[in-house]
Symmetry: C2
Subunit: 412 residues, 2 copies
C-alpha cells in the first residue's frame, strides 16, 4: 500500500475545492492507495513539512459535499515557480526524498499554468531518476486560458457570476428616464474569456451588455466613444463590458493611459473601467459610472455553476484513476463532444509538456468585425458552461462553507 | 367602484417589486377597488399620462411571484421633489384633476425619504381641498434610514448580499502565506447600516471583517493605521469594511482628502476605499486592495433575503387594506416584537408627517467604544433581517426576472 499527496496552487476559484473533493473521494473509493495527504500552501508545504491527513478530515459524504461548494483553496495556495533542474537540482532531490520518506505513489497538483509547469518538471525529473511517483495535473483557472482542454474548471462559475451580475446591473441602471453609461470591468489580463461571458446576460428582454471589448484585439479610444454615442441613442442606458487587460494598437494598457497623480505627487494607475469612465464623462458628458466586479467574480461560491462544479469534481476523481493506471506527466482534461444530444463532454488526459507555458486566447472567430462584441459562435461555446445551480446549505442566512485549513483567519 | 394607482420612486432595491406585488395582489383580492394602474417613472408618469393597467399585466399568480424577486423598479423610477403648494399650486391641481379623471380612490407611493415627502404633501393637499383620495406610503431603501419603522424593505437583501460577499472575500484573500489588507467599501453616505451588516459575515471559523468604520462617528486616519497594524499581526489577512460616507472630525469626507489629478489637470475624487488603500500602501507597505461592492449590493435579486421579500410584500398589501379602511397620510410600517418566540414583527401605519425628511442613523450603542466595530446589540438587531432564501426560477443558468416595463433596454 502506498500514499498519495495533493496540493492546490494559483488564484482562487469557486470550483477548485470541488476538484479536491473529487481527488479525495476517488482515493477513498479505491484500495490502490492507503492514505491521502494534503500539502498546505501548494508545493511550498512540502519544503516546510506542512501537510494534513485528508482521509480523516473528510470522513463523511456530507463534509465532502460542503467542500465542493466552498470557494478558494481549502489547502491554501502559493505563487511558486519551480526552478529548472539545471538551476537548482537540490530542490528536486528534496521533493523526491520527501516522496520516498512518505511512501508516496502519486502527487496531484490542482492549479493553472504555473502549477502545470511545476507538475511537468516534477514528472520529467521522476522519469530521469527512475522514480515511480505518478504526477498528474488537475486544471483550474477562471481565466479559461489553458490549452488541450475545452474549458477550465472555475471558469463556468465565474462566467455565471459575471453574467448574472451584468443582468442585474442592467435592471439597476435602466429605471430612470435619462441617458447613462455603465462600464463594467471584468478580470482577465491577457485572455478575454470572462469578459466575453458577460454576453450570456442577454435575455429576450435585455440586450445588455451593448458593447464588449476584449484584450485579444486592439482597443481604439475614438472608435469606443463613437460606439457609445451610437448605443446611447438606441438604448438610453448603455452597459459596456471591458476586460481589465484591454490595450491600444501599440500594446499599451488603456488603464495606463490616464495615470493620475495624488497630492504627494505619486503616480496612481486606475483600472480600465475607471479610465473609460473618465473619458466618457469628459468627452460625451453623459452620466457614467464604472463597476469593477473585482475578486467577487472568482469567489461566489453561493452562485456556482452546477456544470462547472460537477466537471471539476470529475476531473479530480479521474486524476486518481489515471495515476492508478500508471499514467504520469499528464493533465486530467475534458473535450466537448458535438453530438446530437446537445452539450456533452468526454474525459481524458493530455501531456503536460504540451500544456505548460501556453495560453489559449479567445479566437478571432469569437469576436465581431467591429471588435466591440462577441459572435454567436462564442455564445454557443459559452452558454452550456453556466448551466445549473448547486444546492448550497445555509446557516444564519449565509452559505455554509468549509473553513480553510491553513488560514490564520478562517480556521477551526 | 373606484380605481387605484401605484408608483415607485428613488433608488433600486431587490425588494421594491415585492412591495409592488403585494399592492397588486391585495387589490386583486378585494372588491373595494376596480382596477389598479401603475404610473411609469414615479409621479412624473402622471404629468405625462404614462401608466399601465397592472390588473391585466399580472393576471397570474406565477407572474406576481416572479415580480417579487425581480430587482429594480418594474414601473421605473424618478428623482422628483414635489414643490410645496405655496411654490407651485398648479402641479397639485394637475395631480388631483388626474385623480378625478381616472376615478382614483387611492394612491400608493413606494419609495424612500423623498417619496414619503411627496406622499405627505399630497395627503395634506387632499385634506385641504376635501378630496377623498387616500394617500399611503410604502417604504423601501437599502439605506435603512427611515424613522418609525424597525427596518426598511430592501435593506435585508442588501445586508445579506454584503455579508455573503464579505465572507466569500475572506475566503478569497486568506489563501496565501503573506500579510494582506482588503478594504471593502459599502454603500450608505450618511447612515452606516449596510456597512454594519458586514459584521454578519462572521462565522465560527471567520472573524472577518476585522474592522468596521461607520459615518456616524468621526474617522481618524492615524487611529485607522494603528488598528490595521494591530489586526495584521493577529490575523495576517485583514478585511476592513468602510462606509462610503466616512468623514474626519471636521466633517470632511475621507474620499475627498486624497484628490488626484489626471493628465489633463482635472481633479479626480476617489472613493473612501481607494483612498484608504493608497494610505495603507504608502504608510504600512502591506499588500492591499480595495473592493467597491457598488450597485451589485442593491440589485442582487438572485440572493435576496426571504424575510425581506416577505415583509416587503406584506407592507405593500397592508397599504391597500389601510386605504380601504379610509386611512390616508400614513406609511405602511412594521415594528419588532420582543417576544419569547424570537424575531417577530407586527404591522401597522405611521403618520407621514413624522417620517418625511427625517433620518435614522445607526445609534451609538451599536458602535464600539474604539469606533472600529459594531456591538453585539447591533448584530442582534441585524441578524434576523438576512434570514432565509427565496427560490429563484432559472433559465439558461440565469435568474428569470420580469422585464422592466418602461425601460428602453429591458422590455418586451
Amino acid at each position: 500500500m502506498k500514499n498519495c499527496f495533493v496540493a492546490q496552487s494559483g488564484g482562487p476559484t469557486a470550483a477548485i475545492n470541488s476538484s479536491l473533493a473529487g481527488v479525495i473521494s476517488a482515493v477513498q473509493k479505491t484500495e490502490h492507495f492507503d492514505r491521502i495527504y494534503g500539502l498546505l500552501n501548494g508545493i511550498t508545504g512540502l519544503f516546510e513539512n506542512r501537510f494534513i491527513d485528508l482521509s480523516e478530515h473528510f470522513a463523511t459524504e456530507r463534509s465532502l459535499e460542503q467542500l465542493k461548494t466552498t470557494p478558494a483553496m481549502f489547502l491554501g495556495s502559493c505563487r511558486f515557480q519551480l526552478p529548472s533542474v539545471e538551476e537548482d537540482s537540490a530542490v528536486y532531490e528534496k521533493i523526491f526524498a520527501f516522496f520516498k520518506e512518505h511512501d508516496v505513489a502519486a502527487f496531484f497538483y490542482i492549479g493553472g499554468n504555473d502549477s502545470m509547469d511545476t507538475a511537468m518538471k516534477l514528472s520529467a525529473y521522476a522519469k530521469r531518476i527512475g522514480s515511480q511517483v505518478k504526477i498528474i495535473g488537475v486544471p483550474k483557472t477562471i481565466d479559461n486560458d489553458l490549452v488541450h482542454i475545452d474549458h477550465t474548471p472555475g471558469f463556468g462559475s465565474a462566467a455565471k457570476y459575471v453574467a448574472a451580475s451584468m443582468l442585474e446591473m442592467a435592471y439597476d441602471t435602466s429605471i430612470y428616464k435619462l441617458n447613462s453609461v455603465t462600464i463594467v470591468e471584468v478580470m482577465g489580463r491577457d485572455a478575454g474569456w470572462l469578459t466575453a461571458a458577460t454576453a450570456l446576460a442577454r435575455t429576450e428582454f435585455s440586450d445588455a451588455p451593448h458593447l464588449i471589448y476584449l484584450p485579444e484585439v486592439p482597443f481604439d479610444t475614438e472608435q469606443f466613444l463613437e460606439d457609445v454615442r451610437e448605443k446611447v441613442i438606441q438604448y438610453n442606458n448603455v452597459l459596456v463590458a471591458v476586460s481589465e487587460g484591454i490595450r491600444d494598437a501599440q500594446g499599451n494598457y488603456i488603464s495606463a493611459t490616464e495615470a493620475t497623480v495624488d497630492q504627494f505627487g505619486h503616480s496612481q494607475l486606475s483600472g480600465a473601467g475607471k479610465t473609460l469612465e473618465r473619458l466618457v464623462a469628459r468627452e460625451l458628458g453623459i452620466k457614467v459610472r464604472s463597476v469593477e466586479i473585482n475578486i467577487l467574480q472568482r469567489c461566489g461560491g453561493h452562485f456556482a455553476s452546477r456544470t462547472d462544479l460537477e466537471e471539476a469534481f470529475r476531473l479530480g476523481a479521474n486524476a486518481v484513476a489515471y495515476a492508478q493506471e500508471g499514467i504520469s506527466g499528464m493533465m486530467s482534461t475534458l473535450t466537448r463532444e458535438n453530438g446530437a444530444e446537445g452539450y456533452q463532454v468526454s474525459y481524458g488526459y493530455a501531456d503536460l509538456n504540451e500544456i505548460a507555458n501556453r495560453v489559449k486566447s479567445v479566437p478571432l472567430s469569437f469576436i465581431n468585425e467591429a471588435h466591440n462584441d462577441v459572435t454567436d459562435e462564442a455564445i454557443k461555446y459559452l452558454k452550456p458552461l453556466i448551466q445549473g445551480e448547486y444546492e448550497t446549505r445555509y446557516q444564519n442566512g449565509l452559505p455554509c462553507y468549509t473553513p480553510i485549513y491553513c488560514s490564520s483567519n478562517i480556521s477551526r
